[in-house]
């Protein structure tokens, strides 16, 4: 919905490029963190790359803010909506890296869960979140409403699943090792998916509804 606001080759195109880089980096941080959490790699093996990539997303967010200010100063209010959108989804992309670091911190403290249904479920969750991050970027870049709406549906399903898992862990209905670490991992994955949902919502929702996509305000 904001595609036409961005113009053909203006400063917001550079902001979009930075945002796409942030998403790619955020995806990589999540991938590395989940590798460490699920035993695919030892935490110390991926730590350096993970921290460097996450720092890059932080700096990219600051760069986006600076560029949005310069853009608004030189272009006035004509692209205000698109500028505010990038400020909003830039924060979402930064949070993906931030929350992924949280998953990595859990991995550093407790290591991977032993093989079993919980580990398999976290593996499956990882398999749904990774393409969702990529898909959110592509949907935004191509202004693809259908893809964005499909992502919103997918994100809601993932969120419903992680809430159910956390409920079961809280009520101790699921006898698993590392219950607290697992609940926290689900929580972080759920929040990452919420940020993906926010990015997807920027493709289809009015600016005031960003971060609040619901069936009632679907376009």
């Amino acid at each position: 919905m904001f595609r036409w606001l961005r113009g053909p080759r203006d400063g917001l195109a550079e902001v979009e490029r930075l945002f796409m880089e942030m998403l790619r980096d955020g995806r990589q941080v999540f991938d590395l963190a989940m590798q460490a959490r699920l035993g695919g790699a030892a935490p110390h093996e991926v730590a350096e790359q993970l921290h460097a990539t996450e720092e890059r997303t932080d700096e990219a967010e600051r760069e986006i803010r600076r560029r949005v200010i310069v853009h608004a100063s030189t272009h006035g209010a004509q692209e205000l909506a698109a500028s505010l959108m990038y400020m909003s989804i830039g924060k979402d992309a930064e949070r993906i890296g931030d929350l992924s670091r949280g998953i990595f911190n859990i991995a550093e403290r407790v290591g991977p869960p032993p093989p079993g249904p919980l580990r398999d479920d976290l593996h499956a969750l990882r398999g749904r979140i990774l393409p969702a991050i990529t898909g959110a970027g592509e949907a935004l870049r191509d202004a693809d409403h259908d893809a964005a709406e499909a992502l919103i549906v997918e994100a809601r399903e993932v969120q419903a699943h992680y809430r159910e898992q956390i409920d079961q862990l809280l009520r101790e209905e699921m006898a698993v090792p590392q219950p607290v670490a697992s609940a926290l991992t689900y929580r972080h994955c759920g929040r990452i998916m919420a940020n993906v949902l926010n990015i997807a919502s920027a493709v289809v929702m009015p600016l005031d509804q960003l971060d609040y996509p619901s069936p009632s305000n679907d376009p």
């Binding site: 080759r9 203006d10 400063g11 550079e14 803010r65 600076r66 560029r67 200010i69 310069v70 853009h71 608004a72 100063s73 030189t74 272009h75």
Partner: protein, 356 residues
Amino acid sequence: MLALLYVFLLAVDLLGVGLAGLGEDAVDALFRGIDNPVVGVSVGVLATVLAQSSSVTTATVVGLVGAGAIGLGDAVPVIMGANVGTTITNTLASIGSIRRVEEFRRVIAGATMHDVFNVLSVLVLLPVELLTGALSRTAIALSALVGDVETGEFASPLRRLVAGVSDQLEGALVGALGELGGAIALLALAIVGIAGGLVGITKTMRKVMAGTAERSLNAVLARAGSLGIVVGAALTVAVQSSSIATALLVPMIAAGVLRLDNAYPITLGANLGTTVTALLASLAVDQIAGLQIALVHLTFNVAGVLLLYGIPQLRRVPLRLARRIGDHAADHRALVLVYIVAAFYILPLVLILVLR
């Protein structure tokens, strides 16, 4: 765009034609007292504040000097005053942040940095000019490269483009309204043409140059230095307004993404870039004095930059003073309104009335 430029050049020429129609006595009465340098500076400040554009003031002064209404020496303080007056735009823009203390502190420092630089330049260079005539002598020497200083003639190719239309307008208005009425109408047309032409050029170019301005400012956002001067000058030449060029910096300074010491060279570049308007205006007059006052504007601003930026010990002075003003302004925000009204309106008006 070319039409707007033509209107601007035609208006500068009409100014001389209209003044000639008023007669020598009326012109003398109009500019009585301007030979006092303090009055000259005050006139420059007040005219620029009222027009919200130093370009309008300097282009008008070029027209007046070119028409012989005021002498080169008398016009120099007016040109300097225009530099001071132009800074009001940023100071006014900064009032938008008055409710957010830290933002206000930054933005007032950013706005008054330009004030401080221009006031210091005048305080140093006006006495130098009055004692030695260094700026006007340099301008005269430079003008000798393209015109005849002895006869005072300047064969500008652009003058020929506007002279015919100017003569036709003069004939039509004098024929319809009489000698005096025609002269007054020509003067009114000239003022409206200069201001309207410049506003049109500025608005058009601001839109056209927005993308380039953005890329340039992104390039100098995190680095101080001479590149900032180049960017500031180029932006100002492009939009034909130092006020617009420096006003672009206000939101960036307010947000804290452009530091004061990085904004400083851009502001100085804007001072240099704004001299192009007067040079452009001088192409519409056939007396070399018009070109000479435009060159005084250039040499004054170049000298100011060389002095207050070229000498490292002095470079920090405007920044320090501006930061101090920013701190005081943040603590006593209402004083900023008093400062604007007193420094830009009341003081120059009182000086003109008392000393004229």
